[in-house]
Amino acid sequence: MIREYKTARMNFKLDIRDRVCLLCSDSSEGKSFMFKVMLSAECNFGKYLYFNWENYHTINMNDDRFRNEEFLVVFDNADLYKDIVSALVPNNKCTFIVIVKIFSGISLGNEFGMYKINADDHNIEMVKSV
């Protein structure tokens, strides 16, 4: 699945090839920036949920949207709530993007792929790395 979003100044692209995408990368590569832009009001991005340090406390483990294959759910700052992510990701059907700094201590099941960010002056894209 490829999802793209363009603004006047930047292009964003997600090349998603797994139900669970693990994004482990260093600071300031544009990860949070990209997913926040996609969440913005001008973005008609469809069935999309974004959780980060600000709202992860509001995650409802029984939310039906996690069981809906059409939803894309992003867990940013997931180092802060690895227990919640580990409980949700292996047992649901939507597509997850999990952004962490350190992978240890998190359980994503068997069907995840490793992803990375490629960026240049006008593009940020998430692509499969392994």
Binding site: R9, M10, S25, D26, S27, S28, G30, S32, F33, K36, N52, W53, E54, N77, D79, L80, K101, I102, A119, D121, H122
Partner: protein
């Protein structure tokens, strides 16, 4: 003054406040000031420049114009918390969301409290550091790395490695 580093959370002195959510602390407590140290961190971690108390500009994506400081990476905010907090001597900022680059910026500081992070040390070897760790002061980064490795291997002072 020195940057005080602890091997694990259990070694943090009980009188220190612990901050895990560095984005939240940055939003609620930090006044983003223009200092040489702040400019260095912005340059090294974000390839960015200070604009004013509320914004920065990315050199990579200059066409985006000035951006709000909430858009700084969490790793960068963690380092800035240690530098700019008025509570820096009484607070330990956990580097839970620091990548390699951000944690190595912490090694260059000369005040505050944080934890050891499992990642490569990539700071220059020929500079002088101001690190307190495991009851000792380190100005040589190589000796600091040796001390961390000793603890990783469970070796006590006075024992040989073999």
């Amino acid at each position: 003054m020195a940057i005080h580093l602890y091997y694990e959370e259990e070694y943090i002195p009980s009188d220190l406040k612990i901050v895990k959510e560095n984005d939240k602390y940055f939003r609620d407590h930090i006044i983003f000031r223009d200092t040489p140290e702040v400019r260095r961190v912005l340059e090294n971690l974000e390839q960015a420049e200070y604009v004013n108390e509320y914004s920065f500009i990315s050199k990579k994506w200059r066409q985006m114009g000035p951006r709000p400081i909430e858009d700084l990476s969490t790793g960068c905010k963690t380092v800035l918390n240690i530098i700019l907090s008025e509570e820096t001597e009484t607070t330990c900022f956990l580097p839970i969301e620091c990548g390699k680059l951000a944690w190595n910026e912490i090694l260059k500081l000369n005040a505050g409290h944080s934890l050891i992070r499992v990642c490569s040390v990539i700071v220059p070897r020929n500079e002088t550091y101001d690190i307190e760790f495991n009851g000792k002061h380190f100005s040589d980064i190589s000796l600091f790395v040796l001390e961390v490795n000793k603890l990783d291997k469970g070796i006590q002072d006075g024992e040989d490695e073999f």
